[in-house]
Each structure stands twice: as C-alpha cells, then as structure tokens.
Symmetry: C2
Subunit: 699 residues, 2 copies
C-alpha cells in the first residue's frame, strides 16, 4: 500500500460535512425511527441482530475490509473459513436457527455450506424414510457428511422433466446405476458441489425395465470422506466465475455408471419395491410442491429488505452529495444543491423507497398465507410433506384449490418482487452517479449476488404462465356461475357485474378506489386473455406475452392490496403514531400511483381510469407526494436498521463520512497500490516493484 502522507490526512471534505447534512435530514422529520423498526421487524428480531453482530465483529475471519479486493480463489477460501467458523459459533453459542440465519444476513455473502444447510438437509428430512434419516440425515446434520442438491443440468434448467441423468434399477443386485449418457446430462450450477460437498442428492430419471418414471431423488456419495478426491467414475469441478456469487462453488458432476444401493433412493413418497421390482407411486401427489412454494414465499418476503439496502445507500448518499445549484435560485452563496432535492432523483428513489415497504408487507402476508395453508393441511391429517423442488404443477395433479391459489400467488409475486428488487438495486446504483460504479458503493456487489434470484426457483418469465393458467381457470369457473370463494374469483365476478356500468374509480381521492382500479385491470386482462384462448383459439405460444402482462398486473394488484390492508389493520393503526401512519399512507399512494402511471396504457384500455386521471396522477399527485415524502426519506431508511457493518458501503454510511471512507479504502486498503509499474511500452518489464504478497492468503 502507499503510505498516506500527513498533509493528506489533515484534509477534510469541503462545504457542509456529511454528518452535518444527515443530522439536518434527521432533524427535518419526526418519524420515530426505533419504533418504526420495531413495528416492521419486532423488538425481538432487532435485539437478536445486534446480539449476533457483536459476536461476528469480534471474530477476525469476518472482517470485511478485503472483500471487494480479493480474487476468486481468495474469496472462496475466506468464505470457506467463515462457513466453518459460523458452524463452530452456532455450536459454541447454542444458536437457534434464527440466530444462525441472522448471522448469514449480516455477513451477506453466499458460502460453501449454503446448499448443505438448506436443500440437502431439507430434502433428506422431508423425503427420507426413518431408516434414511438414520443413515444420511443425522450424519449430514452433524456435518460428518457435507452435501448438495444436484438437479439442474447443463442442458436443462426449468424443464425438470427433461433431465437426462438416469438411475436404472438393477433387479439382480437391488441397486441403481446412476449415469450421465450425454455431456448435457452433466449436473451444472449445483451450489456447494464444485469443491465442498462429498455427498449429493441427485435428481435422476428413474428407469425400471426400460421404462422411465420421471425424476426422483437419489443420495450419492461423490468424494472420498478422507482424501476428498472424487470417487471413481465421477467427474466433478467448479463451473467457473460468474456475474456474482463467486464465494460459492457452483459445480458440475458427471457419472459413469455408478452403482448405489436400494436404500439410496429417497423413499418417503415413491419407491421401488425390491421384492417385486415394481414402482410404488406417491400416495398423495398433490402435496409435492410445498417446498418450492415455501422457497418462493421466502424470496417475496426478503425482496423488500434486499431492495432496502440499495435504497438506504442511495438515499443517504444523495442527501450528502451536492451538485449544481438550483437553476431558479440565483445567489451562488446558497451553495450547491443536495442531489436528493432534484425531482429527477426523487422520481427514481422515492417510489423505490415506497416499494421496500410495499414488498415488506406483501412478503409478510405471503408468509402468513403459506403458514395458514400448512396448518389447514396438517389439520386435514395429511402426513405428506413437500418434495421435488423444481417440479412445476404441470407435472402434478392439483388436488387442492387452496394450494393452487397459494401456488399461483407465490409464482406471480416471486416473479414480480425479485424483478422489482433487482432492477431497483441497479436504479439505486445509477442514482449514485459515478461513485455508484465503485465496489465501495456496496450496491454493485450486492446486486450481482442477488441477480440469480430472478432466474432460480422458476425463471421470472416462465413463472408467469403458471399465474395466467390459474387466472384463466378461475375466470372459467366464474363464467360458469360458480360462487366466488377467494379473492381472485371475487374480483373477477365484481368486474363482470360492473363491466357494463363502467368503473369510475376516484384513484386520486380514495385509496380503496386505487386498489379497486388495480383489481379491475387484472380482471379485464384475464377475460381478454380467456377470450383469446377459448374463443379465438389462439395458440398458447402466441399468448405468452399477454400472459406475462397479466401475471404482472395481477401481482401488482396483490402488492397494492397488501400494502393497503397492512395500513388499515389493527396492529398498524394501533402501533404507529398518527404522523408516521400518514407518511406510510403517502408511500402507499406513491407506490400505487407511480406503478399505475408506469403501466398506464393497461389502465385506460381497461377503462379502470380515464386518460385525464392518469395525466393528473403524473403531473400533480405523484409530484406532490415526492415533495411531501422527501423530508422523511433519511429517517425512513434509518428505520430499516441496517448496521454499517452489514451494508459495507462508503456511500451508505449512517454517519455520513462518505468521502473519508471512499478515500480510506482506496488509499489504505487497496492492494493494487502496492505495485509500481514500468510505464514505457518499449520496456517489457511490467512491475518495477510488487509488494502485494500475492504469495499466500492470510488465513
């Protein structure tokens, strides 16, 4: 590193200092930050966060100061060290699962045990028999074996039915032969597989007597438990660098006719009877995609907080960054304007701030819906748990209306929420101007790691077909005159009953009308799509774009509705003071009106609003809301309560020392500054000096 000279150390940023500006911001609003945090997350969760943070900060391995500088191998090495330490701390401090997850959130990077601790353990537990629990789950839970979940292949992602890896039943010796017949059968993208795992749950086409029974889960040992070398006829490796997620060893895996015993097929739901050599079907096929619904609900739940990190950073920095004067202010003495005062910055950031809360409340109610459903299913005495991650409903026979609703809701919201979060993060990064491009902004790396969420657990475009399918089905039942039995069928039949009278919603004056306008648009698009499909007999493929729009419309309706309901339910009106509630209602309006204006063509094509209303919403209502919310922006992001340690961002520091921190990281932490180059092209010597100690990692 270069040594920072003392005359540099004596320098301060010019003008009002960052901490002064943030102080001013905080003084302009009376939102009770702590109370709002507790309302959003509960006091218990906040205390847990700060308790766990204490522990992490005291361990050197979790020091983040080299995160943004290190190359792939060093980052992976550090991530592995952290994963090990985290497990040790869990045992040492007797952490609950919640404590453990909180630690993961604070560390904020994927780790090599990631898939062991999630899908591997879950699958063994949910899909294993008691015998298999004894054999595999216990060891895994105890980290005697380390596993991963091997489903996706080089040639097949979304389409699980198309997997090429085979598991052929050998009647003679009661074993299965796991085999990769093609290069495209190679397992690919499998988290924790590349370098870490020695076991895998492998999804493979079960074949008995030359007949295929579709994908089933098999437990396969893949590496030697001592040498950690791949076993014979197994080829494994890391798949290489990615746009993000580089602390994780996503891997590939190929089998050359590897035999595993009968007990290695996870047999809770379906199995091969070794005496008859026959396939035994799952008793309750309708219950097999609970896990996926759970995972998607979790994505919806997390999306608000994922986005809020970027919004926190951008809003704080835009309150500190000053650039140009207001054109209509003539006196130069007034100094430069805070960037957050420009309406072009507000229109990008404040609707996203509103979205963080909209998604938070939606996620909370999505989780409640999931839990309610689980309870109902348990009451019905079903013993079956979730299975077969990735299997869409096309592959299963839906046995339950309620589950169908939950499934569609989770698909649509997962698609919408993760897209809003990902695109919002990039919007936040750009709103930070040039410095947003620096890794020290903390947004870019976070965005890059989050991006796969838009693809996994159902590609965000693909998923919209599921939603459309469900809505078309609901519309058919309404048209048949069946009594509406859930929110979807209610809004569809409401629409039918009013369609001849027209909508006439007062979207600017009444919040409930705003929600109704979103419902109306969904219903309109549903019946339009139904007409195309059932009456005009359009090909499914020709309707995919319409289905995408429909799903988006429906999910936006759900978000708006959930936000509205959250603000009108008793806990909220009880726990929040009047002023905070008022700001929240403004955020609701901003989110809804801004979304409506972005999608305006569907609103007036459907007759939900008039053209005039949209113009008023854009030019008056939204602009007015921006002005009213602006003073509360910093306190509102403060309420998300991200510790600086978690954000790891120069721009988002809660104390406003933006420029000091950018400078410190560049001047004091940057290893590139430990090299001195020879700059002349005729000289083949590149580095005159290299003090980077690239020899070894420091762990």
């Amino acid at each position: 590193m270069t040594l920072t000279p003392s005359w540099v150390k004596a320098l301060e940023p010019s003008g009002p200092q960052g901490h002064e500006l943030l102080k001013q911001e905080r003084a302009r609003s009376n939102i009770p930050v702590e109370k709002l945090s507790e309302f959003l997350f509960t006091k218990e969760a906040i205390n847990r966060k700060h308790r766990v943070l204490q522990v992490l900060r005291s361990e050197k391995v979790f020091d983040k100061s080299q995160n943004y500088f290190a190359g792939r191998i060093d980052r992976f090495e550090t991530a592995l060290a952290r994963a090990k330490k985290l497990r040790q701390l869990k045992v040492e401090h007797n952490w609950s699962l919640e404590d453990f997850h909180t630690a993961g959130d604070l560390i904020s990077e994927p780790g090599p045990y990631g898939l062991h601790e999630s899908m591997f353990l879950i699958t063994l537990r949910e899909q294993g028999t008691p015998e298999q629990h004894e054999l595999f789950f216990k060891k895994a839970d105890n980290y005697e074996i380390i596993g991963c979940y091997a489903q996706t292949e080089l040639g097949h992602g979304s389409n699980v039915r198309g997997l090429e890896t085979t598991a052929t039943w050998n009647a003679e010796d009661k074993t299965f032969t796991i085999h990769s017949p093609y290069l495209t059968a190679s397992k690919w993208w499998i988290g924790s597989l590349g370098r870490t795992a020695n076991y895998a749950v492998v999804m493979a086409q079960l074949i008995i007597d030359d007949k295929s029974y579709g994908p089933h889960p098999f437990v396969v040992q893949i590496r030697d438990l001592k040498s950690h070398e791949p076993l014979e006829n197994i080829h494994i490796g890391d798949i290489g660098p990615k746009f993000g997620y580089n602390t994780m060893d996503n891997g590939f895996l190929l089998f050359n006719k590897v035999k595993v015993p009968h007990v290695n097929m996870l047999a809770r739901f379906s199995r091969v009877d070794p005496s008859t050599n026959k396939y035994v079907r799952p008793s309750s096929p309708s219950l097999v995609y609970g896990t996926l619904t759970f995972v998607r609900s979790t994505i919806v739940f997390q999306s608000g907080s994922v986005l809020a990190r970027g919004v926190t950073i951008a809003i704080r920095y835009c309150a500190i960054r000053r650039q140009f004067q207001d054109r209509d202010v003539q006196e130069w003495e007034r100094g430069e304007n805070q960037v957050l005062n420009y309406t072009m910055v507000q229109i990008r950031l404040l609707p996203l701030l509103a979205a963080t809360f909209a998604l938070h409340f939606t996620g909370r109610s999505m989780m409640q819906l999931y839990q309610m459903n689980q309870k109902k299913m348990n009451r019905r005495g079903s013993q079956a748990g979730p299975t077969q991650r990735g299997a869409g409903p096309e592959e299963t026979h839906s046995g339950s209306e309620l589950l169908a609703d939950l499934h569609a809701t989770s698909c649509g919201l997962k698609s919408l929420a993760s897209s809003v979060a990902a695109e919002g993060l990039e919007m936040c990064r750009r709103a930070c101007g040039g410095h947003g491009y620096s890794s020290f902004s903390g947004i870019g790396p976070w965005y890059s790691d989050y991006l796969p969420t838009t693809t996994w657990e159902g590609d965000n475009y693909m998923l919209t077909q599921q939603v459309a399918r469900y809505l078309l089905k609901s519309a058919r039942s309404v048209l048949k005159g069946e009594t509406p039995n859930n929110d979807t069928t209610v809004i569809l039949s409401d629409f039918l009953s009013r369609v001849d009278m027209g909508a006439a919603f007062d979207i600017i004056g009444k919040d409930e009308d705003l929600v109704a306008a979103f419902a109306w648009r969904t219903a309109y698009l549903t019946f339009e799509a139904l007409r195309h499909r059932d009456k005009d007999k359009k090909a499914w493929n020709d309707l995919l774009v319409d289905f995408y729009r429909l799903s988006k419309a429906h999910s936006q309706y759900l978000v708006v509705k959930n936000f509205y309901e959250a603000l009108h339910s008793t806990p909220t009106t009880h726990e929040l003071d009047h002023d905070t509630l008022e700001v929240m209602q403004k955020l609701f309006r901003l989110y809804a009106l801004h979304t409506l204006e972005q999608e305006s063509s569907e609103f007036y094509t459907s007759g939900a609003t008039t053209v005039r209303q949209i113009i008023l919403a854009r030019t008056n209502a939204v602009m007015k809301l921006l002005k009213e919310i602006r003073p509360h922006a910093v306190r509102l992001v403060d309420a998300w309560d991200f510790p600086d340690w978690q954000l790891d961002s120069s721009l988002g520091r809660s104390d406003g020392k933006v420029y000091e921190d950018l400078f410190f990281r560049a001047s004091e932490l940057n290893p590139l500054n430990a090299i001195t180059v020879d700059p002349y092209p005729d000289n083949d010597v590149l580095f005159k000096k290299d003090m980077t100690q690239r020899l070894k990692s420091k762990l």
Copy 2:
C-alpha cells in the same frame, strides 16, 4: 486443474447438435450475410478487422483464456502487457490509427494507456500552443511521457464549474501553484492515473489576484520519470475495484502546493499574460465544446455494435437451447422446442436486434452531421478547435445555431443510445437463462465494462436537460413566427399547423406516418413543457421529469427517422437486394411499433394515435413481425460479423458448440479446480492441496 477423464471426453451433447441447429437456422433465410456486412461496415473495414485479428492471434499475450478467471492485479498486469505489446505492434506494422482502434475493439478491454492515447494526447494537441506541442505533445506522442486527463474530483463530477483544485498564479516567479484545498478536491476516477501515468492534464480553477476565472487545463508531471514514484507533495493511487473496467487503473490525485511554470498552462484559447499578470480571454468561446460533441457522437455510433454483441450471443444460444415442448403440440417425439421459438423470448430479443440496426444507422448519420458541421466551421475560417471537455453549454455563450442543434442532438442521442445498449445487454444476458449468469456467456463482463458510458460524458439523466432547453428555445422561435430552418423547427411548426385538425396517422399501414407520429409526440410534449415553464411559471426543478420524457421522445423520434431514411436512401436501395431490404423494413417497423407501444401513453395523450391503434399494433402488428423476422434472426446477427475471438463467449459461438465450450472452460481452464478443500467445520485446515500457483503471474 482437474484432469478430464477419457469417458467424459467421449461424451456429446444430446439431441440435435448446436452446429446442426445453427446450420438449419442459416438454411432458413436467404439473407446474403457477407454482402450485408459489407453494406453495414464497408469491405475495407472488414478486411482490416481480419488482417489485424491475424496479428493479435499470433501473440501469446493476447490469449484470452484466463481473462474471466484472473483477479484484479493479474488482470491489470496482463492489460499493461497488452497495452505495451499493442504499441510495439503499431510501430512494427506501421498501423494506421484505424488499425490500432480495430485492435482495441477486438481485444475488448480497457487498458492502462487508454487515457494517454485519447484525452491526454487530444488535449495537448487541441489546446496547446506550438511551443507546448514541442514541449509536451511530441514526447507524449512518442511515449516518452505517459499521461492522463484529470478533471473529475471526489466531490464533483458533472458540475465542472464546482471543481475545487486550484491553480494560483504567482506573479513574482511566474508560476502556478496547483493545490487541493479539501479532501473532496482529490482528482478521482481518472483513467490511467492510478498506476501508469507520469503526467496529467489537470483541470483546476485558475486564480489570479484572488479572483477565480473558472477551470483551465494545466500540464503537471506527477511521477518521477525514472523511479516512477510520485513526486514530492503529490499523493496518487488507484481508487479500487469497480463494477467493471478493472483492467484500467482509475486513480486519485492530490496536490500539496505544487508549483509548475507558466508554460504548463495550456494556452491556445485562454492564458495568463506573464507581463501584465492579466487573464486573456478565449477569442471564440462558442467553439469550446466540440470535443465533447465528438465523444458523444462516437458513443452513439458505437452503441449499435455494443448491443449487437449481446444480441448475437443471445440469439445464437436461444437457437441452440431447447427447453419444453410447445404446449399445443402433443407428440413428445417432436422433441423440445428451441427457446427462440417462444414468443416471450422473441419479444425480448427481436426488438433489440432491430435496435442494433436502428442505432447503427443513427450513429452513422450522427457522425455525418458532426463532420458536416466541422467542415462548415472550417469554411468559416475558424481556427478554433474544441476545448474544455465536460463544460456544458450553460457555461458558454452559444454562437452558432448549427452547433446548438448538433449539441442537443448529440446529448439526447448519447443518453438514449447508451441506455438502450446497456439495458439491452442485460436483457440479452437474462434471455440466456441460467447460463447467462456465467462469465463464459461473455455478456456480463462486456455489460459491466460498458456501464460507465451511461454516466460519463454527461450523465444520461442530466443530459436530457440540455435537449429540453434546446427544444423549448426552438418552440419559442416557432411561436414567434420565425421561419423553420431545421428539422426540429419544421416538426414543431407542422404540429402547430395541424393541431386543430388532429393527426390521423396510419401507423400500421404507412412507414412515413409512423415516423410522423413520433414527430407529433415530440412536438406535443415540447409545447406542453413550454406551457408549464413559460405560462404556468413552473420551477425548473419541478419540470425535470417532464424534460427527461421530452428528451427521450425526441431522441426516439430521431432514431426512428434515421432508420427510416437510411432504408430509403439511394446507397441502401442500390446495394441491398430486394429480400434483405424487405427484412430491414420489417426490422424498422418492429423497432418503431415496439417503441411506440412501450411509450404508448404519450402517443395517445398527444393524439398521435388512437387507443385502438395501439392495441392493434401490440396484438397484431408486432406479433406478426416477430414471426416474420424470426427465420432471419441468426443470419442477421451473423452479418454483424463478430469474430469468435472477439466475442469470447461459450454461448455465442458461431459454430454452435455451446455446451462443449462451457464444459471445456470449467473443466480444463478453471484454476479453482486446482484446490482440494477440507470440508469439515471442526477442522481449521481449509485447503488440503493448493496447486493454483498463486505465487506469481505468468507474464
């Protein structure tokens, strides 16, 4: 690395092979690829590309196989080696500037000489006196000194007037003192500065007798020419890792009262008279932002090709990737469907394919406009060249109408074109599904390196104010009854003359009406904005969002118009065969109608179209165009003629060996596979084996 076993090497991808699928694609269209390439780029440019490529491929240092794996320092080291070699090759082969730039395009990574070879040399040449040419330019041109262009500071980017670095004139010894009074005065983001440059052109506030004369350029030596250590009272370093652009050493720079002689202030336009100690004003202030206009025009010109890389990769891969069957096709035997056949994929990729051509033709005409203007200025006998990069027109008095038009056009198109290219690349990446996330897709790294283009040379949001200002001014002149003298005033007065009759454009039936609808919308938004500003006296800040929309509308009109005109000019109708021209016209319609539909609310608010027309455009016209263009997709991207070496993408290979290449890179090139971990949490040993040779770089 792991050794790939022979049984793995024997494996092939399943189903129809990639090369077969691409062959089929190419057989389905009769577009003459080579001829189209020549039409787009000229035969000369294509020959040059392939000649230069030959040279690069034969040099080991340009081998790309470790690009995606290497960490920051290794990448920088390689980039420096490449920059040196490139300079050596230029001398050795007596390359023209075009050859040299072609080599840079093929290598496709920013290099440490980047700013030396562009802004440093240009500024010395354009703003130096003959004496300064002798003193600085000659040495720089000869690489005896290596420079950079130091304008942006930690606290100031867009607002050049706000720069804090000072250059104070010392009358007693006829020197300037360069000083950084605050931490925020630190130069920041300066390309080639961090490790490479030993000279800088420093933009600093000129101060004479306590009076500030605004930012001016000073040549300052910053490192010792032998030891390459920073000179006394100068603190320099690399600013750290970024979202992309990591082969470049963007740097920081602080001065502690460093003296430079009088001759170091670049004095072609303005200077300090050393005898009177007075400031001498530039003779022709109206000509000072030519360089910026040129740089922006270049960005517009490159945007089509930037985007085309992603489109090429995504379209080829989506022709090879097969997933699911068409739902309406019942026979499983027909196999899985090419992803490119799904309308949801087509609607994402084909309008982007159309955009590559739209931007290409627009960029070409933008460059022509620039050159025409240069010629006119030269004819007028002006000797003045461009100066002061970054200075917006706010700071200067516009002396020329033509320049104002050129300036506004370049601002608006730079903003639109680079946003379309950046967002389009990300769209392409996601259209590749999971594999798009792998660095081997080649899109992610390219996108990350391109992103700063949306911020530099005028932030894409900020720039829209310049366009709006120009349009408002034009509208005022039209309202005053002045005779229209350029396209902008023509469309504004056309609008006024027809506004009471209404538009009635046949956007689906007539291409010229489609263009007219875009003009109409621009004119409508211009007069709306004018009304808000001049009549309603709205604050400038309250209109920024409207201005942004207005600028976007105007620039979209320009792109549509340029695309239309390119297809109706003589060279095109002459050089392209009938079938190709027809496909091009379909691409024009797709681009225009898809854009129109995306922005539909402005089209019917303005009365340019009816709601019914938009619905027809979306549901009929666009969907039909997708079907018609689909068979030509692969040949159309082939015409962009990117060598595989340049794309460096597994997914975009012209021979379709997508899966083989992904696998090869992961299994044979990935250094992470040279480590063997210890996977157990209780064991603090992380790596049992480390064969990565992280000890030294290989150059």
